[in-house]
Subunit: 390 residues, 2 copies
């Protein structure tokens, strides 16, 4: 049932192939000192960097840069950014990139004026900021994380081999605006595109595989999954299909902006398992999720059979007539597997660089949550990682 909850998501979204121009409307709302944050430099090749810099210049901004934000932003990179933002007396952080760059900008937004070590405060003690929070804007160039419309920020502590996400409660940490141009996502390699698609799929499943069967949120989750499956098949064959790429982009935003978790419990164990793989191998986030999902879902299926049956029928169109609930549920997971293979996702953690010797280390890096239908023990985590090996 729908429990007590609050919902507030003030991020202003500008969507479409003409959306970058809205920087003209947004930039004047913030102070002069801007820190421009981006990743490996692909935005310099495809021209987005030049376009954004032109808007910043036209708005008379004083710009410092933090380039080189990596796919799994590290704590060391965060420390580096804090120094740059402080030296620049930053008024505003503009992230241009994918979810990692957006996540990094939000982590920086709560850290620049933080008097303590941000890792201890936010990622070990999961506290909320009690300092000034810098406003963040995003120009999204990669789809998947939903970071453009939420208050989450994942940071990896390489030394401690920990990849931890904090979803902040304060909505002022959400980006003030995000610019979503599906064309910006089209230069991405196929591997990154499908990894992003699976990240979206997993975000929805993490919120769907928990609770009873009456909640409006779960109906919306099924809709997002159906739309995503439909459009992903088109984009997989033709990555230049604007309609498919735009629907995927929009689905990604709504998959993780808190809507579909309202009033219900959630799971998030696929992310805990996948993030452990990410921390130990530095593999692409979406692929780590794909590689552990089926072993995990097959293992917990008996504990949430009603939901796995519903998943099969409502998401994958399995006809339940004349089948046991278990047979129907398993057919759903088979349909999911076929779709994953069609997209070319990582189907095991071996291809991502993990091996049998790393099982203990992977288990060490896995944060145990209550889970949606089953609280895993460490032994069960090891068993699932074992089954995730090729």
């Amino acid at each position: 049932m729908l429990g007590n909850f609050s919902y507030c998501n003030p991020t202003k979204l500008y969507f479409g192939e003409d959306s970058l121009q809205y920087l003209n409307a947004e930039l004047p709302k913030y102070g002069k000192n801007v820190v421009l944050i981006y990743g490996g430099g692909s935005i310099k090749k495809n021209g987005i960097y030049d376009d954004v810099v032109a808007y910043l210049e036209a708005a008379g901004k004083n710009v410092a840069e933090i380039p080189g934000v990596m796919p799994n932003p590290t704590l060391d990179k965060l420390y580096e950014g804090i120094k740059i933002a402080r030296a620049h007396k930053a008024d505003f952080l503009l992230a241009v990139g994918g979810g990692s760059v957006c996540d990094y900008a939000k982590a920086l937004a709560v850290s620049v004026h933080c008097k303590e070590d941000p890792w201890d405060k936010y990622y070990l003690r999961f506290e909320e900021p009690d300092c000034e929070i810098l406003p963040v804007g995003c120009v999204l160039t990669m789809v998947g994380t939903g970071s453009e419309m939420n208050a989450g920020a994942v940071i990896t502590n390489t030394a401690a081999r920990l990849k931890i996400g904090h979803v902040f409660a304060d909505e002022s940490i959400m980006p003030r605006f995000s610019i979503l141009n599906p064309k910006f996502t089209m230069t991405l390699p196929h591997y990154q595109m499908v990894a992003g698609i699976y990240d979206i799929f997993s975000h929805i499943c993490e919120q769907y595989f928990s609770g009873d069967d009456d909640n409006t949120s779960d109906y919306i989750s099924e809709a997002l999954l159906r739309s995503l499956i439909h459009s992903s098949r088109i984009a997989n064959k033709d990555p230049q299909d604007y309609e498919a790429r735009s629907n995927i982009m929009w689905t990604a935003t709504w998959a993780l902006n808190t809507l579909i978790s309202r009033g219900k419990s959630t799971d998030w164990m696929v992310h805990m398992l996948g993030q452990a793989v990410g921390a130990c191998t530095d593999a692409t986030h979406g692929m780590t999720l794909a590689a552990v999902s089926l072993p995990y879902y097959r293992y917990i299926m008996p504990y949430g059979l009603h939901r796995f049956k519903r998943f099969a029928v409502n998401v994958w169109g399995i006809d339940p007539a004349g089948k046991t609930d278990e047979e129907t549920a398993l057919e759903g997971l088979k349909a999911m597997e076929a779709w994953m293979r069609e997209l070319g996702l990582a189907m095991d953690i071996s291809v991502l660089g993990a091996n049998e010797d790393m099982l203990e280390q992977l288990a060490d890096a896995t944060r145990l949550l209550p889970g949606g239908y089953k609280a895993l023990t460490r032994d069960e985590v090891i068993r699932i990682f074992k089954e995730s090996l090729a």
Copy 2:
């Protein structure tokens, strides 16, 4: 396909049976002079009025009242409210009631400091406000309109027999916060409850029956319709079922807060026809929509057959095997009719007080929109009203 669009909805929602207490968090954010707006006085019988007044007193507010906001708020009532709010130097408007009371509060919010006649400016010329806009908060006691999380406000000009809704573009006209307690909706008579449910259903259909078949928004619309149909059947039998009432309340909010219309065209002709019936008979809004829907949808079905087929399959679970698209689509409308009769909705406009002599007057009061799949002529409007008679 998903066109260019923006999305911003900053309303903070507090949902659940414990939600009224959040007035303590919200009231201090606004000035001292509050205008409390409500309807026919039912909130005095069920205790909500006393509770709200206690929160206002605890927050040290100076309160004036506008009681007696009617189901179809009139322009005369708006003029009356403007005088009260100006005399009270209102800083904040608190609406306690259903969609009519929320709509009225928003119309008042843009009118108190408006130098022109608000009817001319907002409802005849559809302009945006260029004056100060008062902040609005809502405590919702009736479900259906979605007014608690949008910038729409319908006002009826009784003299001109016109009922017109303006959906403002400025998100600062959306309520700053809305308190959604499903228990507050449970004292409502069955007639009002099902009218509200049909209003929600119609809001979704107005946005669904337009455009092609790929848009994520339409998948979400189907999810909301499925959830609503599921919960409405439970609430129809047991109006005290908290789970059903809470899912209906949540669905109503998302049915009309702009999400499901993003990036696509919409229809809204059922509302144009229904509002004409409302303006001529003062019948309950949701019932006017119910009474004209099937004649309208049967008439436009051939122009959007692909979507009516999809509606039948994805919303009503009709098996399309071995049927023509038209047969499948018609079965969907039959399933919809059966559900409407199950709820006890008005199935014709005669029961609402309309008759054959009013056809021209009804057509005069109907605003013609481009429509989702077919632009109606005046003759077609008269034909649909004729078929809506018993």
